[in-house]
């Protein structure tokens, strides 16, 4: 498994897509952090969520994971991958762990960067800043979400081989279907992975997620619910991959 994981990590960092999307993720997070730090006047209670939860790594790692697995089909590299790792379940586990690890590292990179930049700007403006312990807690929560989203994105990508369809589908899910569910059916929407569960893990308020009436799960339960989503998508994807003939 270590060898397969190493191979998947090399795959990740040897294409320009990964470097480009990482750059965009860092850039957008930094831009949001700088603008909010410069333009807002947060209260001591809100500063952590308003400035230091601007980590966009979760969204980008989902995209990267989908590109990573669907790219195997698009470029037909799935054949050489499965010749090197004929046990398809082990291949999928290694790929899932690789993108979870990538999500973790990407989030840490972004969260630490925006923490430093945000603290400098807020301090210079004599605005309230969070305690170091609170800041570390936020960085860890951001990383938790990105790690889970890396695994979730990969599992979703195994279900749909067509790359554009998979990406558009996930964007629709994250930005259209889930917000609608959260707004119109909050009892169902509280289990939505991209908004409600991620928000719950990051200890955001229901209002920040999109509906002040939303009864968010506790962070621990939200993590368990994310594991359930990942497990379901992964199992379905693994069954599909196992059965598929590679022509």
């Amino acid at each position: 498994m270590t060898a397969l994981l190493r191979a998947e990590l090399i795959k990740l960092r040897t294409t320009r897509t990964f470097l480009a999307l990482t750059g965009v993720a860092v850039g957008t997070s930094l831009l949001i952090c700088v603008l909010v730090s410069l333009l807002s006047e947060p209260t001591p209670e809100d500063v952590l969520r308003e400035v230091f939860a601007a980590d966009t790594s979760a969204l980008f790692i989902v995209m990267l994971a989908i590109v990573g697995i669907t790219g195997e089909w698009r470029h037909r590299t799935i054949t050489s991958s499965l010749l090197a790792a004929p046990n398809r379940l082990r291949f999928l586990v290694a790929k899932t762990l690789a993108f979870a690890a990538a999500g973790l590292l990407l989030s840490l990179l972004i969260s630490i960067t925006i923490a430093i930049v945000g603290m400098i700007i807020l301090s210079a403006r004599d605005q309230p800043t969070p305690e170091l312990g609170e800041l570390v807690g936020q960085i860890i929560r951001n990383a938790e979400v990105a790690t889970l989203m890396g695994a979730f994105g990969l599992a979703l990508g195994t279900l749909v081989r067509n790359q554009p369809v998979a990406i558009v589908g996930v964007l629709m899910l994250a930005f259209v279907i889930e917000p609608s569910l959260v707004a119109l059916a909050p009892d169902v929407g509280r289990f939505a992975p991209f908004s409600a569960l991620s928000g719950a893990i990051q200890e955001m308020s229901a209002e920040d997620v999109g509906n002040s009436d939303l009864n968010l799960l506790s962070p621990g339960l939200a993590v368990l619910a994310m594991f359930a989503w990942i497990g379901t998508a992964f199992t379905a994807g693994a069954v599909l991959l196992k059965r598929r003939d590679l022509h």
Binding site: A7, I10, K11, T14, G71, H75, T77, A84, P86
Partner: protein, 302 residues
């Protein structure tokens, strides 16, 4: 180990259909170490399906395809036992050839030093750091071969390996196959270039419509179903024909005054003529081309 055999590769009753199309039907043959086996058949004969089934990429409905009795997935280090070049070998276009090999080396637990070694072996050392999308078709084919050689495997499987290679590349490929077999490796190579195959294989397997049409050494397959064929021109052709028929050989005139003797080597025909003091003007083995045999076995469908 249960089920372990001496053959490098063994197909036993392999069958696979896609919907109503029977791609491979009850296919059985084996491939030996130290020999190059040509796997021939017209387009759509089932060659690629057979090879992909052997490599665990396609699931058979019946039968087995094994390496020393073990399925590909059961091999402890697959890429150290088997190297494969499949038709339409594909690579991520934005990744360099070297990085493609580094990934496969990592997955197969092969040392990084093998990457440089195989790049040198296939003459791509100078282009290893270029992105694959800038490679010619021949370079991609060489990269695919480098990937197959990465684990220094005992068995090589190549599906149309000459595709995209220029004449020097084809010669290089032929030499490579012969060299690998000379080192004791089993080489199974599918090709539609019959002239190319005839110069590099020891054994031949011919399939058509997914069914085995012929298998054996190149010499035996180039002979007819009745065995070798000899052309003889004799002073007393009628008497010689009678004598040969008495020895159960099929004899027929070839239309130019000579006789075609089926099932007899020139030595045997010459012995009969000498025993009965019949003068001979010509005595030669009739060599058929692999193409002739191929068309016969596949009923001209290629």
């Amino acid at each position: 180990m249960a089920g372990v055999t001496d053959a490098a590769i063994e197909f036993n009753g392999l069958s696979k259909s896609f919907g109503k199309v029977q791609a491979v039907k009850d296919l059985s043959f084996s491939v030996q170490f130290g020999r190059v086996t040509g796997f021939l058949g017209p387009n759509g004969a089932g060659k690629s399906t057979t090879l992909r089934t052997l490599l665990g990429l396609i699931h058979p409905q019946a039968g087995t395809a094994t390496f020393g009795g073990l399925q590909y997935e059961q091999l402890s280090h697959p890429s150290a036992h088997v190297g494969a070049v499949l038709e339409e070998a594909s690579f991520h276009p934005g990744r360099s050839g070297r990085n493609h090999l580094r990934i496969l080396a990592a997955a197969g637990s092969h040392p990084d030093s093998r990457v440089n070694a195989v790049l040198e072996q296939v003459d791509l050392a100078g282009a290893g750091d270029r992105r694959v999308k800038g490679y010619s078709m021949g370079m991609r084919q060489r990269l695919a071969i480098a990937a197959a050689l990465l684990g220094d495997p005992d068995v090589l499987i190549l599906d149309e390996p000459s595709n995209g290679l220029d004449p020097p590349g084809i010669r290089w490929m032929r030499d490579l196959l012969r060299a690998e077999a000379a080192r004791g490796r089993a080489v199974l190579v599918s090709s539609h270039l019959l002239s190319e195959v005839s110069q590099s294989v020891d054994d031949v397997v011919v399939i058509s419509h997914g069914v085995l049409r012929g298998a054996g050494t190149l010499e035996s397959v180039l002979g007819s179903a009745d065995g070798p064929v000899t052309r003889v021109r004799a002073g007393d052709a009628d008497r010689l024909a009678t004598l040969l028929r008495q020895q159960d050989h099929a004899v027929e005139p070839d239309g130019s005054g000579a006789l075609l003797v089926r099932g007899a080597l020139p030595e045997a025909v010459g012995q009969v003529a000498a025993d009965h003091r019949i003068a001979l003007a010509e005595l030669v083995a009739v060599a058929r081309s692999l193409e002739d045999v191929f068309f016969e076995l596949t009923e001209g469908e290629a």
